[in-house]
């Protein structure tokens, strides 16, 4: 059960896009350089964010990405779901119905598997916590020095 590192990348990119402002679109190569990660691979995740309506992309010269919504309207759950998909980590395969359970009376399995319910309850708590936090919260919590340094580093690149 390992989460893709793309989640961390995506969140950092959203944070960076807030810091750099909404004036200019930031291309993949710039974001990749900011964190020293492979740009072509990062692009893959940024595309996923576009499909989830978290970012908008503009093609051509001076193109790039910018936030599709205000930072307070993007929850961490939105980003995680965009990268990891909407399926939960635990997936009930209904093994109770196989083997010795194959001869069950009809209707016995009408109510869902208790194990699936228990695991689902835990994942619901996880999602609730993620949905309660937004990109704006991350911006507020981050030290201003990082934002300032990022802007200074970016300034000469903004054309």
């Amino acid at each position: 059960m390992k989460m893709s590192e793309g989640v961390e990348w995506a969140l950092h990119c959203c944070l960076t896009l807030v810091w750099l402002g909404d004036e200019t679109a930031v291309p993949t190569s710039t974001l990749a350089a900011a964190f020293d990660i492979p740009s072509h691979y990062l692009n893959k995740f940024l595309q996923a964010l576009v499909r989830a309506d978290i970012l908008v992309s503009t093609a051509g010269a001076k193109g790039g990405f910018r936030l599709a919504r205000k930072p307070e309207k993007i929850t961490l759950l939105d980003v995680v779901t965009a990268i990891e998909g909407s399926d939960g980590a635990f997936r009930c395969a209904e093994i109770r119905r196989r083997g010795a359970g194959a001869a069950a009376k009809p209707g016995e399995f009408a109510l869902p598997c208790g194990i699936a319910i228990a695991m689902g309850r835990a994942e619901a708590a996880w999602r609730r916590e993620l949905a309660a936090q937004t990109i704006l919260d991350l911006v507020k919590a981050a030290p201003p020095a990082g934002a300032e340094r990022m802007r200074c580093w970016y300034a000469p690149r903004a054309r």
Copy 2:
């Protein structure tokens, strides 16, 4: 981010061991037949449960597995951790320190990454929910018919 199916198998096996009672040790082959899953592979996960002190194993003829503790003393978190490991799904790679962040002032990264904190908060909620439920809770929630059928199926095999 997919959880191993071994978690579902392990939980169902714990439930089954409660149903079949603590009198006899149940071998891997029997548990595998109960759910029609590959026995050699299931054995791998049962070993993990033994290492986590959730099951105890006895070798030789009439050997097998039984619960190491009472059902109310085994939480779902214990089982999930035994199979999946104790590491969380999200792992902060500290990418903020690389690339443009490489020239940071010393001490700027003294406090941990806000993204890691936010993700950790969600995982903590997930763990809390898992730790609040025990195998005994699953037994109580499961329909008695399943337990009864499992016992009838097992009876001729118990030597």
